[in-house]
């Protein structure tokens, strides 16, 4: 990648030493220096009038990598993919007004999934703020409900502190996006820059260490339980607590189900793993929850895609324990008997020192029997290329070692169901907001954050068209993302709902008029491949894996394949439609 050839010319130590020296510089230079001091190595952005001083300061600058995306939405999803796959803070820059508002979907996406981002927007000069000036938008106001916190910088002297605080807030406690809006004059003003060390924000002290008595209560409940189940979510991944979770499961012998965002946090190969719960969850996971007497939510928030109709959720449960770093999640959707507020890693570390097995062997036998009797399956009798086959093929050939990003729709659910995850942070997907257009640009960020790993982006033919312009970035920077398109010629997930819930009344789901994706790739200078049979699929995928740069692979599959099991919105998770398996 180009990225590697753009290595800083000076050593990291020399650079840091220089940056720590007080200096009389502009707000823009303060921004760049502060980003470097925060360890930022790549930024995604798009220039415009209000950030011209910032971009001017970046002229000839090579201490971090700036990628010019082709849409601000591409920039923020890329920053998001970078953050989710690395655990570091993702950074993006946009100009005021339309540049800033183009970020809104991406900010909301990151907020819903607790992804640490620092989003920098330009604004009109302070004396123009509030006058409906050219390209003015009240972006802090617009994004207030979808950011963890935001700043409008009115004084250049506040800038070093604000940037430092923003990184701290974004990546601590329950993580999330923080917006810094910098008026043009502030980015131009000069002041003495001295790096800030340490942050203290009164009123912001996330609880890390759990209340030990609460953890003891949890352990006691485990010892008493006969049918315990763990629901693990994205919080496990974000807290880097996978190892602790595996140890906890091994020690307590509790069957575990992982939500969409929790999927990569626990190895799919583990004997106690039941798959994903909820709307498209496995029979084993959903029946385990419905029969459980103890539910332990670990870094998961009882989202409605998991619980489905709340009054029918877990009817046999005697106790619910909820481990979460965000106290506001506890008791928000379901009544909790054992609340444990704290960092998931810290909680599990402490719990693991004392955890004993539950009386769960009979229960384990039962859930494993369910898993064996009702595995995920699909009709694979003929030579037709099925989407599930494509996912299985990718899973097998990569050995579960790739970083997979997905867009939103059926292919996302198939990826969740049929890809066998091994490593934490190897699934990047928009869970909470379900943002189409996320899959491909987030893969660009994931690849930049993980230059040595294989990054596979799985998309529908609908969603991939929402940010396809970012192929340009892959081409010019030689970012070797493998862009998989599960091309069923329709908005598949919408079609599925229209078939099952709206009695086959297919309304506006036909994607006729889509481009030839191979030619589209080639137009950007990216290799394009197509497969319509299993045979071709194996061949194309092999070629893609052997190609060093970016590749787009158009897997043409029949329309009409549905995701099962399925629980219809408004039903309880006991009401699973099993599809072909029924």
């Amino acid at each position: 990648m180009n990225v590697e050839t753009q290595q800083p010319k000076r050593s990291k130590e020399e650079l840091m030493e220089k940056l720590r020296q007080p200096d009389h510089i502009t707000g823009s230079e303060i921004l760049l220096r502060s980003l470097l001091l925060e360890g930022v190595d790549c930024v995604f952005g798009y220039p415009g009038g209000a950030v011209l001083y910032i971009y001017d300061a970046m002229h000839g600058f090579s201490d971090f990598n700036h990628l010019l995306t082709r849409h601000e939405q591409g920039a923020i999803h890329a920053a998001d993919g970078y953050a989710r796959s690395t655990g570091k803070v993702g950074v993006c820059i946009a100009t005021s007004g339309p540049g800033a508002t183009n970020l809104v979907t991406g900010i909301a996406t990151a907020y819903m999934d607790s992804v640490p981002l620092v989003v920098i927007t330009g604004n009109v000069a302070t004396n123009f703020i509030g006058t409906d000036a050219f390209q003015e938008a009240d972006i802090t106001g617009i994004t207030m409900p979808i950011t963890k916190h935001s700043y409008l910088v009115r004084d250049v002297n506040d800038l070093p502190r604000i940037i430092h605080e923003a990184f701290h807030i974004a990546n601590s406690g329950r993580k999330g996006p923080v917006l810094i809006d910098i008026p043009k004059d502030v980015s131009a003003q000069k002041t003495i820059f001295e790096p800030v060390t340490g942050v203290s924000i009164r009123g912001y002290n996330p609880t890390v260490q759990p209340n030990k008595l609460q953890v003891d209560k949890l352990l006691k409940a485990i010892e008493e339980a006969e049918r315990p189940v763990i629901i693990a979510g994205g919080g496990v991944v974000y807290a880097d607590a996978s190892e602790e979770l595996i140890e906890f499961v091994n020690k307590t012998r509790i069957p575990i189900t992982t939500t969409l965002l929790g999927l990569s946090g626990f190895p799919s190969a583990h004997e106690l793993w039941l798959g994903m719960p909820g709307m498209h969850g496995t029979y084993a996971a959903n029946t385990a929850i419905q029969n459980a007497d103890l539910i332990i939510s670990i870094g998961s928030r009882f989202d409605d895609r998991v619980t489905m109709r709340l009054d029918g959720f877990a009817p046999n449960v005697k106790k619910i324990a909820h481990i979460d770093v965000d106290p506001a999640e506890i008791g928000k959707n379901v009544k909790t008997d054992i609340p444990v507020v704290g960092d998931v890693k810290a909680v599990l570390e402490f719990a693991n020192t004392k955890a004993k097995p539950a009386k769960s062997e009979a229960w384990i036998a039962q859930v494993q029997k369910n898993a064996a009797e009702f595995p995920l399956r699909y009709n694979d009798n003929n030579d037709e290329l099925k989407p599930q086959f494509v996912i299985e093929m990718i899973s097998e050939t990569t050995g579960g070692e790739a970083i997979v990003t997905t867009d939103v729709g059926q292919h996302q659910m198939w990826a969740a169901q049929f890809y066998r995850f091994k490593n934490p942070r190897s699934l990047v997907t928009s869970g909470g907001l379900g943002t189409m257009g996320f899959g491909f640009p987030s893969a660009i960020g994931a690849q930049l954050g993980n230059p040595d790993k294989l990054v596979v982006s799985i998309n529908g033919d609908g969603g991939v068209q929402m940010c396809a312009q970012e192929l340009a970035i892959c081409a010019i920077n030689n970012i070797p993302v493998k862009v998989v398109i599960i091309n069923n010629q329709v908005l598949g997930m919408v079609r599925q709902w229209q078939e099952i819930i709206y009695e086959n009344r297919y309304s506006h789901i036909d994607l006729a008029g889509s481009p030839d994706f191979v030619k589209l790739a080639e137009a950007y200078g990216v290799k394009g491949l197509r497969a319509t049979t299993k045979e071709e699929a194996r061949k194309a995928w092999k070629e893609a894996m052997e190609t060093p740069g970016p590749v787009v692979i158009d897997f043409v599959v029949p329309k009409g394949e549905n995701v099962f099991p399925m629980v219809k919105a408004g039903d309880t998770i006991s009401d699973m439609l099993m599809g072909d398996a029924e």
Binding site: M144, P145, A328, G331
Partner: protein
């Protein structure tokens, strides 16, 4: 549905009121009244919010407020004995002939007349909501031209914290 009075200590930053009131609106919590002013500490303001909801809602309100970085402390004042006061200015029709009667009411309520016009008076009354409601009801027959109430500000009694 219970009525609760909560006190929220916040950083005195631009946009804080928007953050707090936006949170209430977005999450469907009710605001009966909200008052903001300086607190005992420089740089911090105190908001007093009167809201309704069950215990769970109240707990969520408090937890969600704590998520705002600018919120420093949230106290449910109504959990303890408290003093809550609001102020109302009432401009009431008062032809000279009616004034003695009105002044009688004002005196009984230990309110005050703060302005006298040719055919109106401005009455200022301080007290809990019920007292102000009662005052308004008594003055209504004379014809209220303008009414402005502040919403409650409050604190717990004595040394309860």
């Amino acid at each position: 549905m219970m009525r609760h009075t909560i006190s929220v200590l916040v950083n005195n930053q631009p946009g804080v009121l928007q953050r707090v009131s936006g949170l209430f609106g977005r999450r469907g919590y009710n605001i009966e009244s909200i008052t903001v002013g300086e607190s005992e500490e420089l740089g911090l303001s105190r908001m007093v919010i009167v809201t309704t909801g069950d215990e769970n809602t109240l707990e969520q309100i408090s937890k969600q407020l704590y998520k705002l970085i600018d919120v420093i402390k949230v106290v449910d004042l109504s959990a303890n004995p408290m003093v809550a006061r609001e102020l109302a200015l009432i401009k009431v029709n008062a032809e000279p002939a009616a004034r003695p009667e009105i002044l009688g009411i004002v005196e009984t309520f230990r309110a005050a007349v703060v302005d006298i016009g040719p055919n109106s008076l401005i009455v200022q009354v301080v007290g809990d909501s019920d007292k102000i409601d009662a005052m308004v009801e008594l003055l209504r027959p004379y014809g209220i031209r303008e009414l402005s109430r502040t919403g409650a500000t409050a604190m717990t009694r004595g040394s309860v914290r």
